[in-house]
Amino acid sequence: MLKEPDAKRGSLLKAVIGDIHLWIPLVALVVGLILLHGLR
C-alpha cells in the first residue's frame, strides 16, 4: 500500500496524464519540432 504523499503524487500524475489540455499542446509541440527538423 502506498504512503499518503506517494498516493497523492500518484493521483496527481494520473490527473495530469488524463488531461486533454496536456495532449493538445504536446501534439502541437511535436508537429513544431518535426517542422523545424525539416527546415534545417
Partner: protein, 430 residues
C-alpha cells in the same frame, strides 16, 4: 452537470468590471512592449544563424524572467504558488518549450518569405486562441451576438490590418523558398496559438503570472539549448557565439523587453481570457511599425501606395483592437469561466478558496512579500551581465534616429508604469 451546480459565490460585478478594464489595459501595454522587442533585435547582425539568435534571446528572457519576479514580489511567493497548484509546473515548462520552437520557426519564416507574409500568418494565432478559449475554457459563452461580433470581427479586422501593414513594411522581402517559409510561419502560429492553453489553464486555476513565467523559462531554455546543440554542435555554437559578441547585448535586450511585454500579456490572459487578451497584445505589430518608421527610417521615399497601406492597415488594426476592448465578458460569461475553474479545482484537488480568490485578483492568506538574499543575487547578477555585455556592444552602421528612439522608449516606460501601478492597486500583482 448544469452550470448552476458548479457555480461558487458570484464575483461582485464592479470588481469584475475593474479586472476586465485592467486586463484590456495589460493587453495594449503588452502590444507596446512586444512590438518594442523587435527594435534591439534589429540592431543585431543579420548573419547570425537562426538557432543562435533564438538561443541568445532565450538567455536574455531567462535572466529577465528570474530577476523580474524577484524584483517585484520576491521568489518566496513562487514556492507558495507551487505548493497550491504543483501540476501547473508541467504546463509552464511545456509552454516554454512551445515558445522556443515557435520563436525559432519565425526566424526561418522571415528568412524564407519575409516579414510581409510571415507576420500575418503567425499572428493568426489569435484566431486559434479564440477557438481554444471557447472550446476548452468556456469563454464567450452566453456573451451575446454583439460581443461575439466584437471579438471575432475584431480579430479578423486585426488579421486584415496586419496583412496590410506587413505588406507595406517589408518591401525588401527576400524571395524564394516560399513553401517552407509559409509552413514555418503557420507552424509558429499553431504553436503560439496553442501555447495559450497552458496560459489560460494556469490563470484559471489561480497561479500567479510571475510564478508561471519562472517555470516557463526552464522549458524554454532547456529546449533552446538542446535545439542549438543538436543543430550546430558545441564547437560551432561556441564559435557563432564568439563571433556574435557585439550583437549579444542587443539580442538579450530584445529578450528582456519581450519578457516585460509577455508579463503584461499573461496578466491580460488572466483577467480577460485568451479570446480577448491574445488579439489585444497582437497590436505589437503597430508598435513594431512605429519603431521601424520613426526610429529606423524605414519607408523613406516610399510611394503613396505604400503609405496608404500603412495608414489603412493601422486604422483597420486599431479598430479591430478597439472592438475587442469594448467586448468585455459579461456577468453571465464569467459564470461559465467559474465553471471551468471549478472543473480544474475538482480534477486537481485544489483549494476552492485559493482558486476563487485568485479569479478576483486577490491572494488571501499569503505571507507578506519579502525579498531574500537570493532575490538580490538574481537582480544584481542579471544587471551585471547586461552591463558587461552592454560595454562590448556596438551600434551597427545604419540609420537610427536616437531622439525618436528616446521618445518612443519614454512612451513605453510611461505605459509600463501606468499599467504596473494599476496592477498593484487593483490586484497587488496577483
Amino acid at each position: 452537470m448544469t452550470i448552476d451546480t458548479v457555480v461558487p459565490s458570484p464575483i461582485v460585478l464592479t470588481r469584475l468590471r475593474a479586472l476586465q478594464a485592467l486586463g484590456v489595459l495589460c493587453g495594449f501595454v503588452a502590444g507596446a512592449w512586444l512590438g518594442g522587442a523587435e527594435a534591439p533585435i534589429k540592431l543585431a547582425a543579420a548573419n547570425i544563424p537562426p538557432t543562435t539568435v533564438s538561443l541568445v534571446m532565450v538567455v536574455g528572457v531567462f535572466l529577465a524572467r528570474w530577476s523580474l519576479p524577484a524584483l517585484v514580489r520576491g521568489t518566496s511567493s513562487i514556492r507558495s504558488d507551487v505548493q497550491q497548484a504543483p501540476h501547473l509546473v508541467v504546463w509552464a515548462v511545456l509552454a516554454g518549450a512551445m515558445w522556443a520552437v515557435a520563436n525559432t520557426l519565425t526566424v526561418y519564416a522571415i528568412r524564407d518569405v519575409g516579414l510581409s507574409i510571415a507576420f500575418p500568418l503567425w499572428n493568426a494565432n489569435s484566431l486559434l486562441g479564440i477557438f481554444w478559449g471557447f472550446t476548452l475554457f468556456k469563454e464567450l459563452r452566453q456573451s451575446g451576438w454583439a460581443r461575439w461580433l466584437g471579438v471575432l470581427g475584431g480579430a479578423f479586422a486585426m488579421f486584415a490590418g496586419a496583412a496590410l501593414l506587413a505588406a507595406a513594411s517589408s518591401t525588401q522581402a527576400p524571395a524564394g523558398r516560399a513553401p517552407s517559409g509559409v509552413m514555418a510561419a503557420l507552424g509558429a502560429g499553431l504553436l503560439w496559438g496553442t501555447m495559450y492553453i497552458p496560459y489560460r489553464k494556469a490563470y484559471l486555476t489561480g497561479m500567479n503570472p510571475l510564478s508561471f513565467i519562472t517555470f516557463f523559462t526552464i522549458g524554454e531554455l532547456v529546449t533552446m539549448v538542446a535545439l542549438a546543440l543538436s543543430y550546430s554542435g558545441v564547437t560551432t555554437l561556441w564559435r557563432d557565439l564568439v563571433q556574435s559578441r557585439p550583437a549579444l547585448f542587443w539580442l538579450m535586450l530584445g529578450g528582456l523587453v519581450w519578457v516585460i511585454g509577455d508579463l503584461f500579456q499573461q496578466y491580460a490572459t488572466k483577467y480577460v481570457g485568451i479570446s480577448r487578451g491574445v488579439p489585444l497584445s497582437n497590436t505589437n505589430q503597430l508598435w513594431g511599425l512605429v519603431w521601424g518608421i520613426v526610429v529606423f527610417g524605414e519607408l523613406q521615399g516610399a510611394s503613396r501606395h505604400i503609405y496608404a497601406l500603412v495608414i489603412g492597415g493601422s486604422l483597420v488594426m486599431a479598430l479591430g483592437a478597439m472592438a475587442i476592448a469594448f467586448s468585455s465578458a459579461t456577468g453571465e460569461e464569467h459564470v461559465h469561466w467559474q465553471g471551468a475553474a471549478e472543473r480544474e479545482t475538482r480534477r486537481y484537488g485544489l483549494d476552492p478558496a485559493y482558486v476563487h480568490a485568485s479569479m478576483e485578483g486577490k491572494e488571501p492568506g499569503r505571507e507578506p512579500m519579502h525579498r531574500t538574499w537570493i532575490d538580490w543575487l538574481f537582480i544584481s547578477g542579471t544587471t551585471a551581465i547586461f552591463v558587461v555585455l552592454g560595454m562590448g556592444a556596438r551600434l551597427p552602421e545604419m540609420h537610427i534616429n536616437l531622439g525618436c528612439a528616446a521618445a518612443v522608449s519614454i512612451v513605453m516606460l510611461a505605459l509600463f508604469f501606468a499599467c504596473g501601478i494599476a496592477l498593484w492597486r487593483t490586484t497587488r500583482f496577483s
